[in-house]
Subunit: 307 residues, 2 copies
């Protein structure tokens, strides 16, 4: 998987990923009005609203970006209709040639992790028939349960050419409460870094990076740079740019000397750009997709300035 | 929530919870044959199979147990049809007067955690209307991201009288890799224990326990007993009994002097009892539900022998 991602990043000259994390607040009125009329104020209406919104965003940005990252929570909160919209969003992204990183942050004991793994990045068996369900190219997972909980995901990465991004140092304010606890020889997250690097050794691709990557927040730039130096085979998925407070300067340390090694996520900064002070005079609400395109171009330039 | 759970445990004289973690392997042929005929070998067929199976198990056990714990991974792996079966399982459980602990182990930064929290234990807003989606009474979550990631769940616990079980010391073999790292004054999981105890202080009910509980595996009996002594206000959800190797003797330390303080989960030991050597001569495959009832009665007696 990781070689596919690196190739796409080079092809688009853009190490960014658009977070498809729709919220009804972000979505133009005309879409909501039409779908609420058709389906009333139901989860089904929300699913249709999210799909129209996501497709429009992808239509305007797919030629500029290597990947999208739908956050499953935004869909899951609306029940099965939401999950349907999540799956159809993935399908559409793949039709557009985009890689899909499912931001699912799952984690459980091995026998349960296997179910998550088969559904999301493998295949399930239904009465002797193999069926693919979600088909993300990569997913995010949590390391808290240790290696045996990660193994079922690594198995499917090998079998189906998929990838993982394992939570290492998250972007939120409280991330230090457990992740920064002092242990012998460093901090908890540093030990997790070593474990992730070790777990990924079997999956190192042609470019020296493993399909088992890590999530490291842009909001902790020093740790980000230090981790880039210490775990050289681990590709980073970096949230926290833009709305969460991380700037391009904070990202410099995430990249290696070839400008690779990280993919930067922006969600509301792109998909809700039309509501942003920066774009509000240039684009109307109905041009939300064009505003997203401009925000992608601006983010690309911003990040290229530090690589 | 926790007072509701304690009352139900006392009413049924049974501190156990049945894990509704269906797998096609566990399910009698006649159910699968009928539903595959009706819906072919599709996720929809699996959803119908799981629902029939779960309802039959609940019909035979609801009078004996306080709660059920569906593991969402088993459903989620089949996509939106699976999630529909998960939601309908919860609805049916509540009709039967059972409390529902959704084993979802979610965790994310606050703005995302809020979406999980609203969907599962709160309500979502659709165009000004409040809609309840999953309606579990309690859910499991992971602490790895720290307090700000837990806060949106605690908020809904207060508003909607719901509960949490936060991963503390999990039952799997690799749980020590991160959870047992040595920090100043103890281990990571001991620090997490203190955090959970602290986070739950606002939600302590009439019986001295908080609606913010913890998951502690039966497979680590010494830590279980030690945690029971150290965090007195934290109710435990204890997996690992039966199929995972924990015995009733291992559970003794989970309970306080009143025989409260913990609820013990068994999944395949109950729902697939008819396949177990112990029951195979007594029950046919078609009597899978009666076998589950007997397994619940035997588990109840086994646990009562150590309280």
């Amino acid at each position: 998987m990781i070689d596919l991602l690196i190739n796409k990043i080079e092809e688009k000259q853009n190490p960014t990923v658009v977070g498809l994390d729709p919220r009804l607040d972000f979505i133009p009125e005309f879409i909501k009005v039409e779908e609420f009329e058709r389906h009333e104020k139901t989860p089904k209406a929300v699913a249709e609203i999210f799909l129209r919104f996501n497709k429009a965003i992808m239509d305007e940005t797919y030629d500029l970006i290597p990947a999208v990252k739908p956050q499953i929570a935004m869909y899951e909160q609306y029940g099965h209709e939401g999950i349907r919209a999540y799956i159809e969003t993935i399908k559409y992204a793949k039709q557009k040639g985009l890689l899909v990183i499912g931001d699912i942050k799952r984690s459980d004991i091995a026998s349960t992790a296997e179910a998550y793994s088969n559904g999301h990045i493998g295949e399930v068996n239904i009465g002797g028939e193999s069926v693919k369900i979600y088909e993300e190219d990569a997913i995010t997972i949590s390391p808290y349960l240790g290696h045996d909980s990660i193994e079922p995901f690594i198995e499917n990465c090998k079998r189906f050419n998929r990838g993982l991004f394992i939570l290492l140092k998250t972007s939120n304010a409280g991330s230090g409460e457990i992740q920064d606890l002092e242990i012998k020889g460093g901090k908890v997250y540093e030990r997790v870094a070593d474990l992730i690097s070790e777990w990924g050794k079997e999956l190192v691709g042609e470019r020296g990076y493993s399909s088992t990557g890590a999530v490291v927040g842009a909001t902790y730039p020093e740790q980000l740079a230090e981790l880039r130096r210490s775990i050289k085979n681990v590709f980073f998925l970096v949230p926290g740019y833009g709305a969460q407070g991380g700037s391009a300067k904070d990202l410099k340390g995430a990249f290696d000397k070839n400008g690779l090694g990280a993919i930067i996520n922006s969600s509301r900064g792109i998909i809700a750009a039309y509501k942003n002070q920066k774009y509000i005079n240039e684009f109307t609400e109905n041009e939300f997709d064009k505003a997203a395109r401009q925000a992608v171009l601006d983010m690309k330039a911003d990040i290229q300035s530090v690589i």
